[in-house]
C-alpha cells in the first residue's frame, strides 16, 4: 500500500496556497495580490512574512512606469528555493489525487 504524502504546512493553508500559486507564476505587487486574493492588508502581510521567514520570497523595487506616476512599488515572487519547495508540495497533492482516482 502506498504511504500518504506529507504536505508542507507552509503551503498547505488556504490563503498561502493561492498566494503561492500567484507568486510561482510571476512577480506581483501587493495591491494586485490583495485584489486577486480578496484579503486584508494585515492578512496578506502576515502570509508574505511567513513565506519570507522560510526564505521563499524574493522582491524587486520597481520605479513607477507610467507617464504620470513615478511612485516606486515592490513586486514579490517566490524565490528559487520557494519555487522548488512549492513544486514538491504540488507533487504531494498530485500523489494524493492519483491515489483517490485509483479507487
Amino acid at each position: 500500500m502506498n504511504t500518504l504524502p506529507e504536505f508542507d504546512p507552509l503551503f498547505h493553508q488556504p490563503v498561502r496556497t493561492r498566494l503561492s500559486i500567484l507568486l510561482y507564476v510571476k512577480g506581483e505587487s501587493f495591491a494586485d495580490l490583495k485584489s486577486k486574493l480578496s484579503i486584508t492588508d494585515g492578512n496578506l502581510d502576515a502570509h508574505l512574512k511567513k513565506l519570507s521567514a522560510a526564505g521563499f520570497i524574493e522582491s524587486e523595487m520597481v520605479i513607477g512606469d507610467t507617464q504620470k506616476s513615478t511612485r516606486p512599488y515592490t513586486v514579490y515572487e517566490l524565490s528559487p528555493s520557494g519555487k522548488k519547495a512549492f513544486k514538491k508540495y504540488l507533487k504531494a497533492l498530485e500523489k494524493i489525487l492519483n491515489l483517490t482516482q485509483k479507487r
Partner: protein
C-alpha cells in the same frame, strides 16, 4: 552553488545575479544607510521600524515601507535554511555600511555549519571608472564567483565594533574606530572617512555633498540631472542615488532662506516627492541666491539657514544646538556653537 543566499547591495546587482543564472535566492539590502537615523543600542528590527518612518512619505506609504523592511529582515533571519550566504558588495560608503550592518547581525548568530562569504571589489578590468556592480554584465558577475573570500570571526568582530561606533551619538567613537586596524575589510577606512565629510563643514555649515552641488551650480552646471552626473563623476567612494541628490537640492532650494533658486517655478520640483512630468523636471534650471553666494564665500552658516536637522548614523545634528562639524584642514570633527 545550491542552497545559497546572495545578499546584494540593491536591486541592480540582484537582477544581474539572476541574469547570470547564479543559483540561489537573492536578498537586496535596500537602505541608503549614510543618511537618516540609526540610534544606538537597537536591534535590526528596531532599526528597520525607524528606517521605515524615515523613508516613508507621500510617494511611499509607511505601511509599504515597513512591510518591505520586515520581509527583508525575515529573509535574513532565514539564513539558517541555507548552506552558504554570499555578500555581494563594492567599495563605496553605502556598501561598506551595509556590510557592517549585515555582519553585525551575523556576529550574534550561531554560524555552526554555515559558510559566510564576501565578494567585494573596487575595480573591474575594462570598466573605467568603476562605480559599482551595477555597471557589470551577467558574464562579469559570474566571473566574480571564484574571488569570494570566507568571512571569519575577525571580520565579524571588526564589523560589530564598526556598527556600534556608527550608531553612537558621539561621533568621536567612529573617529577612534577609523584609526584602528581595519585592513581585513580593506575599503572600510576610506568609506568611513567620506562619511565624516558629510558632517556640516566648519567653513560654511554645508556638508561635502551640498558644497559640491553649489560649486557645480556656480560653475555653470545648472541642470539638475547634469548636476547629479557631474557630482557622481567627482566621487570615488561615495554613492548617492539620484533621488537623494535631488532631495539635497530641494533642501537648499525650497526652505525659508534658500541657497538655490530654481526656474521656472522658484521651487525645485522632483519625483517622487512631487508629481512632475519628466520633461518639465529636466528643464529646470538652478542658480545660486545671494545667500548661497555668501555661504560659498564662508560668510554665512548654512546649517542655520537650511535649519539643519539630520541624522548621520547615531548622531542627530540640529542647527539650534552645538553641532559636530568637519574641519577640512585637520580632517577632524569639532563640536561648535554657531559659526562666527
Amino acid at each position: 552553488m545550491g542552497n545559497t543566499l546572495h545578499i546584494t547591495n540593491g536591486d541592480g546587482a540582484g537582477s544581474l545575479l539572476k541574469a547570470a543564472n547564479i543559483e540561489g535566492d537573492v536578498l537586496p539590502w535596500r537602505d541608503t544607510m549614510q543618511s537618516g537615523p540609526f540610534p544606538k543600542g537597537l536591534s535590526l528590527e528596531e532599526h528597520s521600524k525607524i528606517r521605515a518612518e524615515y523613508f516613508s512619505g507621500p510617494a511611499m506609504p509607511l505601511s509599504d515601507v515597513t512591510r518591505d523592511f520586515e520581509i527583508r529582515d525575515e529573509h535574513l533571519k532565514a539564513f539558517k535554511n541555507y548552506e552558504e550566504v554570499i555578500l555581494w558588495f563594492e567599495h563605496d560608503l553605502l556598501d561598506q555600511l551595509q556590510i557592517l550592518q549585515i555582519l553585525q547581525f551575523f556576529h550574534g548568530q550561531d554560524l555552526k555549519g554555515k559558510k559566510l562569504s564576501l565578494v567585494c571589489i573596487n575595480e573591474y578590468e575594462g570598466i573605467i571608472p568603476f562605480r559599482g556592480l551595477g555597471q557589470l554584465s551577467p558574464e562579469h558577475i559570474e566571473a566574480l564567483v571564484p574571488i569570494k573570500r570566507p568571512i571569519n570571526e575577525e571580520h565579524l568582530k571588526i564589523a560589530n565594533a564598526g556598527w556600534q561606533a556608527f550608531c553612537e551619538p558621539d561621533p568621536t567613537h567612529l573617529e577612534t574606530y577609523i584609526q584602528s586596524d581595519l585592513s581585513s575589510l580593506p575599503f572600510l577606512k576610506a568609506a568611513l572617512m567620506r562619511h565624516l565629510e558629510e558632517y556640516p563643514s566648519l567653513k560654511n555649515g554645508l556638508n561635502k555633498t551640498q558644497n559640491k552641488i553649489l560649486e557645480l551650480v556656480r560653475n555653470g552646471v545648472t541642470n539638475p540631472v547634469q548636476n547629479f552626473i557631474e557630482f557622481m563623476n567627482s566621487e570615488t567612494v561615495f554613492f548617492m542615488g539620484d533621488w537623494t541628490h535631488f532631495r539635497e537640492i530641494s533642501k537648499m532650494c525650497n526652505g525659508e532662506q534658500p541657497l538655490l533658486s530654481c526656474s521656472p517655478n522658484g521651487k525645485f520640483l522632483s519625483p517622487p516627492d512631487h508629481e512632475i512630468e519628466m520633461e518639465d523636471f529636466k528643464d529646470q534650471i538652478l542658480s545660486l541666491t545671494d545667500l548661497g553666494e555668501k555661504v560659498m564665500d564662508g560668510k554665512r552658516d548654512a546649517a542655520e539657514l537650511i535649519k539643519l536637522d539630520q541624522w548621520l548614523g547615531g548622531v542627530h545634528l540640529e542647527y539650534a544646538k552645538p553641532l559636530w562639524r568637519w574641519d577640512e584642514k585637520t580632517e577632524k570633527l569639532m563640536k561648535t556653537e554657531k559659526l562666527a
